[in-house]
């Protein structure tokens, strides 16, 4: 276990170095951050002086070397726009994104498991066919369209839910949480539904097909022959084995969910990391951009490590150390 974790940390470092390098190479293609800092009529010399001051005129290697040196000290650079260290900005924005992803995952979990199991066990019933039909449509609708339709119906027409933002938040040990106020929760509903809509159909279908496969296996037939209760066969013997691939896919998909927060947050003016990232790209706020990529890269490695550990716990035939 210890060796496994050490190996993972080394892997994580390599991954983040690569991400940092790629982020750094791309930033030169993103345009000139100085343009966003000055009015349009500012003279070329003034702009050039500012570039010099920001160190943007140094060669790629010099800039990258400086970045690496500072990164070793935990300093991922200074955001031009926020005028604060990039990591501080990201940590300020992270709670919003984490809560959104958490709420969306919860919705996915609470809906996909029962619906997936039901439609695997009773594939011929109307509800199962209906669920499959809806999920095909769901997979093919882009998230921003879902979001705009949700806003139009529930905010503009029905006035049931707020259309943008996070609402009232409570500071819990530096974590700005929207989960603890009614207003915050009301604001969370539409964005989390919109975000979950991209993954939900996939998970319903995945759980359904895995469960159907498991239900056909020999040991389930044996369990029926043995006269075990339906509940026990479905929930303990079949469901547990269905979970293995679902967890693997879930780990990977969590990353995609984070990627999709960029769109969802922008439409709902949700003040999280995704929205911040998109704005950073538009402003070519390069330090913030690279820092975001590195942080998300780190998050990926952590999630995948956790998935591997859970995998080992659920499936005893896999030992973590050998992976």
């Amino acid at each position: 276990m210890f060796a496994f974790i050490v190996r993972r940390i080394i892997q994580a470092t390599v991954v983040m170095l690569v991400i940092g390098f790629i982020g750094f190479s791309v930033k030169h293609q993103l345009g000139d951050p100085v343009r966003d800092l000055v009015g349009i009529s500012v003279s070329i010399e003034e702009r050039e002086a500012l570039r010099q001051e920001l160190g943007l005129n140094d060669s790629f290697l010099v800039q990258y070397g400086r970045f690496l040196k500072n990164a070793m000290h935990g300093d991922l650079g200074y955001s031009f726009f926020y005028k604060r260290p990039a990591l501080d900005v990201i940590f300020d924005k992270a709670p919003a994104t984490i809560e959104l992803v958490f709420a969306a995952s919860l919705i996915i979990l609470l809906i996909s498991v029962p619906v997936g199991l039901y439609s695997a066990i009773y594939p011929k019933r109307f509800f199962s066919k209906f669920a499959m039909g809806v999920s095909i449509v769901g997979v093919s609708i882009p998230v921003f369209l879902t979001a705009i339709v949700l806003i139009y119906v529930f905010a503009v027409q029905l006035h049931w839910l707020p259309s943008y933002g996070r609402g009232e938040t409570v500071d819990v040990f530096g974590w700005e949480s929207g989960l603890l106020t009614i207003d915050g929760l009301r604001h969370l509903v539409l964005p989390s539904i919109a975000l979950s809509s991209i993954m939900l159909p996939l998970f319903i279908r995945l759980i359904r097909s895995e469960m159907m496969e498991v239900l056909e296996t020999e040991y389930i037939k044996y369990a029926w022959a043995k006269g075990l209760s339906r509940r026990r066969i479905w929930m303990v013997h079949a469901f547990k084995n269905t979970l293995l691939p679902v967890i693997t896919v879930g780990g990977v998909q969590l990353g995609i969910l984070i990627a999709f927060t960029i769109l969802t947050e922008t439409v709902f003016q949700w003040q999280g990391m995704g929205f911040m990232f998109l704005e950073a790209v538009e402003r070519s706020d390069t330090a913030l951009l690279v820092a975001y990529l590195v942080v998300v890269g780190a998050l990926f490695v952590v999630v995948n490590t956790v998935v591997d550990i859970i995998y080992g716990l659920i499936n005893p035939t896999v030992t973590v150390a050998s992976r």
Binding site: Q29, L30, G31, D32, P33, R35, D36, L37, V38, G39, I40, S41, V42, S43, I44, E46, L50, E53, L54, Y78, F80, F81, Y82, K83, R84, I148, I151, Y152, A155, V156, H159, P162, S163, Y164, G165, T266, V267, F268, Q269, Q271, F275, M276, E279, E282, R283, S284
Partner: protein, 515 residues
């Protein structure tokens, strides 16, 4: 128990004091980047400045000057304007406002990277007494009052000294922390009570505001930036906010038809143009080719189809109301004439050019460029169009990377001369003229007239000079003007927005009445 009583008593007091208080929930596409009014010259920062600070004079809706911190002004000699300042004005810090603050503010403007260009003609101001200040220029300067609209008095006492980090309080920093970034003390109608950059800004009415005659009755403004156009409109329609700006042309219909919502549009000063690079394309050196392009472009069609009527077709740089505006210079759409001119120039078969345009800078910029490209194909000019986000567009523009480049321009001085100084004068890096002249158009006569207009203080004479400039540019087809974008605001019916908006897009929230 006792603590509980005190808390409930305080709560009751709070409720009592907020009863009847009017809060305006405002959504804009972005929030101010800093609390320092001199850090960036942009529409957003000037809107902020009008909320928290007061200028010497400001624009009225009919483009006249209205006294603010200056009660009256008089020209003493060719280079000097004397301003008589308002008495009894207090800054948010409690410090009294005097002539020293104006002197200090103009000195600081001359240090600001963004404003120093505009204040280049100014020398230091001189305080004659506590409430009289002489503003001097190096040569006679016709736009002195235009510039006075940018002199937002800052509290010189408040901004003097060093902050907790040992940094000078008056330092202007674009990319780092500074005292003025997070602290303000102006004389304006609102105080910044709370600010979380990119998330929220709360303005509270300044209790000791000097302008007691202002009808404004808003006690609190909560500004939320909402970047996406549809989300901003949805927030207004769902009742989550009271006032939005800007409104995208696509949403005019839905906002205009919505019950209880008032949509106001006004012709703005931003002109959208295309420049024809005479250095990269020798064909463009021929005036007939440039004219042919002007004749081939259907401004009317673009305004109708693409801008959905939310723009005014343009045949010149400055819109109506500007001194250089000439009624006779209108768009000239005539395909037959265009083809004739191409033939006369010897390009009957046409040629191939490259074009670049931004895709997120101006309203429908990408679609306009596409439409112009297809219009030019009708007179045999094959256009290879490339569009890109503004962050990448500006470096390309600086390099004059394509034969035809799109540029929109709003005059910082609200004067006709400014357009020509940046867009039409011969490129001169040292003097800073023609910085955005990607067409490399160069006409000595235009230069002489524009420079002459800078020092001409006889306004009637000056107008004739600037009108002549527009005429020459029109005859030369120096560039291809498209239209002037409209400005737009929308609010709930109880928000009386018509009275506070203007063509500069600086809504005066201090004077806003909410019923």
């Amino acid at each position: 128990m006792k603590g509980f009583k005190i808390i409930s008593l305080l709560l009751m007091l709070l409720i009592a004091s907020t009863a009847g208080a009017k809060t305006l929930k405002l959504a804009m596409d972005a929030d101010p980047v800093s609390l320092d009014p001199h850090v960036q010259l942009s529409g957003g920062m000037l809107q902020y400045s009008h909320t928290v600070f007061d200028p010497l004079v400001r624009w009225t809706q009919d483009m006249k000057f209205e006294p603010r911190l200056a009660e009256k002004w008089e020209r003493i000699d060719a280079n000097t304007m004397r301003f008589h300042l308002r008495k009894g004005v207090k800054f948010h810090s409690g410090n009294p406002f005097t002539a020293k603050d104006i002197v200090w503010t103009i000195d600081r403007l001359k240090k600001s990277q963004d404003f120093k260009g505009l204040f280049e003609p100014f020398t230091s101001a001189v305080a004659v007494d506590d409430f009289t200040v002489d503003v001097k220029t190096t040569k006679p300067y016709a736009l002195l009052l235009n510039m006075a609209t940018y002199v937002f008095a800052m509290d010189s006492v408040f901004y003097t000294g060093t902050d907790a980090n040992g940094q000078e309080k008056d330092i202007i920093l674009k990319t780092g922390a500074s005292f003025a970034l997070d602290n303000e003390s102006g004389t304006g109608p609102f105080i910044v009570a709370e600010r979380e950059q990119g998330v929220k800004m709360v303005y509270k009415r300044f209790a000791a505001y000097w302008d007691t005659k202002s009808p404004g009755n808003v006690d609190e403004v909560v500004l939320t930036p909402i970047k996406k156009d549809p989300t901003r409109v949805a927030a207004l329609l769902s009742g989550d906010v009271d006032f939005i700006m800007p409104v995208s042309p696509q949403d005019f219909k839905i906002v205009g038809n919505a019950k209880g919502i008032n949509l106001v549009t006004m012709s703005g000063g931003r002109v959208i143009t295309f420049q024809l690079n005479q250095e990269s394309r020798p064909e463009f050196k021929d005036v007939r080719v440039r004219q042919a392009i002007a004749y081939a472009v259907n401004n009317e069609g673009i305004v109708k189809k693409i801008m959905k009527g939310t723009a005014t077709t343009a045949g010149q740089q400055g819109p109506k109301g500007y001194v250089g505006y000439k009624e006779s210079l209108t768009p000239r759409y005539d395909i037959a004439k265009a083809k004739e001119l191409m033939k006369a120039a010897g390009f009957e078969k046409g040629f191939e050019v490259s074009m670049m345009a931004p895709n997120n800078r101006y309203v429908s910029d990408e679609k306009i460029a596409e439409a112009v490209a297809s219009m030019l194909s009708k007179i045999g000019i094959k256009v290879n169009l490339k569009t890109m986000p503004k962050a990448q567009y500006w470096p390309e523009f600086d390099n004059r990377a394509a034969d035809i480049m799109m540029i929109g321009w709003h005059s910082d001085t609200e004067d006709s001369g400014n357009f020509s100084e940046f867009l039409a004068m011969c490129f001169d890096k040292d003097a800073g003229y023609g910085q955005y002249n990607a067409g490399n158009y160069c006409n000595e006569k235009v230069d002489a007239l524009v420079l002459g207009a800078q020092v001409e203080t006889d306004l009637a004479k000056r107008a004739i000079m600037l009108q002549e400039v527009e005429q020459i540019l029109y005859d030369d087809a120096a560039f291809i003007p498209m239209h002037w974008q409209h400005l737009s605001w929308a609010a709930k019916n109880n928000v009386k927005l018509e009275a506070i908006v203007n063509a500069q897009n600086f809504p005066y929230f201090g004077d806003l009445v909410v019923e």
